[in-house]
Symmetry: C2
Subunit: 315 residues, 2 copies
Amino acid sequence: MSGHVVALCGGVGGAKLAHGLSMALAAVADSLSIIVNTGDDFQHLGLSISPDLDSVMYALAGLSDPVKGWGRRDETWRFMATLRDLGGESWFQLGDTDLAVHVERSWRLAQGATLTAVTAHLCKALAIGARILPMSDDPVRTRVLTAEGWMDFQDYFVRHQCQPAVREFMFFGAATAHPQPEALAALKRPDLRAIVICPSNPFVSVEPILAVPGIRAAIQQARAPVVAVTPIIGGKAIKGPAAKMLTELGLDVSAAGVARRYVGLIDGFVVDHSDPAPEPLPGVTFVSAATLMSSVDDRLWLARAVLRAADTLVA
Amino acid sequence: MSGHVVALCGGVGGAKLAHGLSMALAAVADSLSIIVNTGDDFQHLGLSISPDLDSVMYALAGLSDPVKGWGRRDETWRFMATLRDLGGESWFQLGDTDLAVHVERSWRLAQGATLTAVTAHLCKALAIGARILPMSDDPVRTRVLTAEGWMDFQDYFVRHQCQPAVREFMFFGAATAHPQPEALAALKRPDLRAIVICPSNPFVSVEPILAVPGIRAAIQQARAPVVAVTPIIGGKAIKGPAAKMLTELGLDVSAAGVARRYVGLIDGFVVDHSDPAPEPLPGVTFVSAATLMSSVDDRLWLARAVLRAADTLVA
């Protein structure tokens, strides 16, 4: 089946499926747009850092570190060690090769380029075929309300290592942000085949994207089925604080707990084949598949299963 | 003999003698201030780069690359290679460890710190005892008039590798720059023992310092003898374009050609022991010493010779 696929994606976990989709759709030009969360973006040491865009780029370019699960493979840390010796801020790890992306992005942004244009340039340099799009060129900053008060996302995520219990999320700037125009246009394409919500954290990866005006409505009105993939297997998150957040918010720590947040938006939801089928949810068809992506083959396999599922659903 | 010594210094060559002086005077606290040219400073990829301050810091911290003559020893280039792959500007070499200094400096400057404060912080982190002072906290930018028109210094020096013939120099911003207050105060100290003009390029290392209002006058009025060291041996510059510039400006390519630029300012001038004694110059005592600094011992040896010479002269 042909047609354009749009993926919504956060960082590492979502990036794996985005990579799978890019492999599954590689034979056809202009077959995949990936809308990436930029709510995690932040300024650090004067640099503009976009962790999720980088995770997706690195995954699609085959540059991800397979062991750490973040950053680049074969990374070195001489910059970081020297910065530490100089008394610089060392809570956020910047690898020597990763840093080149941050410096080049920051410099181009400072020259007036949009995040979209910078991302397109980097993708071209990394020979990435799929279109990777920030959800918006306007800054949106996720903030987390914890028992210790509101925190910037990276402060919560990296510096506090997700320790504080979360109560609420805010996507600062989202209300006045403009959706990235190509992202919005992709969601409205007549040849749209599927919209895939990658197995990313619903609270801090997917919902910031949905908070950008126009994106949620475009997904709801799209001609294609919307399929989300669970980030929770056996009551645990593969990576990151999704399960911990579900618990702290008093929600069901399960695939169903995530699916419930997407009711009214999705047509299908992929649960892991090792999990029981969830209780029915209005308008949601549950599909079972192997969702754990340990290898690159797993990514392609899951991507194909998700596309197959979408092709059987009606928007 | 005790007392405070002030050195005026540019990049690599001058930094070697500054290192020699710091070793010669290490036993006594607060015995050395090094006023460093910042006319070479520039913005690159959004970073604030101070090549001469770094050369002096690295020399005094024992971090200079002994082979290349610039940058840090045991440097790696993974950032640079990645930046090149990304299509970034690669004409100015940024090593992985060197980059930490640029990022930390840029970040602190962006936060509102003065270049003096940033330099003091970096020197403390690198356990440097001597006081390294920028000539001014205000930006001064050396520009070079060539047959191809005016060029920014780094454009001439690195990108064009000093190929275009020079006609004139301009120190943009110097006329309204404030001299670094501690530098000016050091030149006025009652216990001043000597002012040393290091074997730096007179046109683009020393004269930018002298162009900052108040510095030349403070040197002329100082209570201590002023001794300059030749950057020219046997009609050639040890390093850099000093000899080429003397030729292009129609000046004598010799120690005397350099000494003549300092008449009215210096009391002594150290020529290399392999060169003949120059023709007399008004107010200048010529001293002969081994000025080639191939080893760290040579630096200390020359520093001692310069201090001995100063101690025999009258301001």
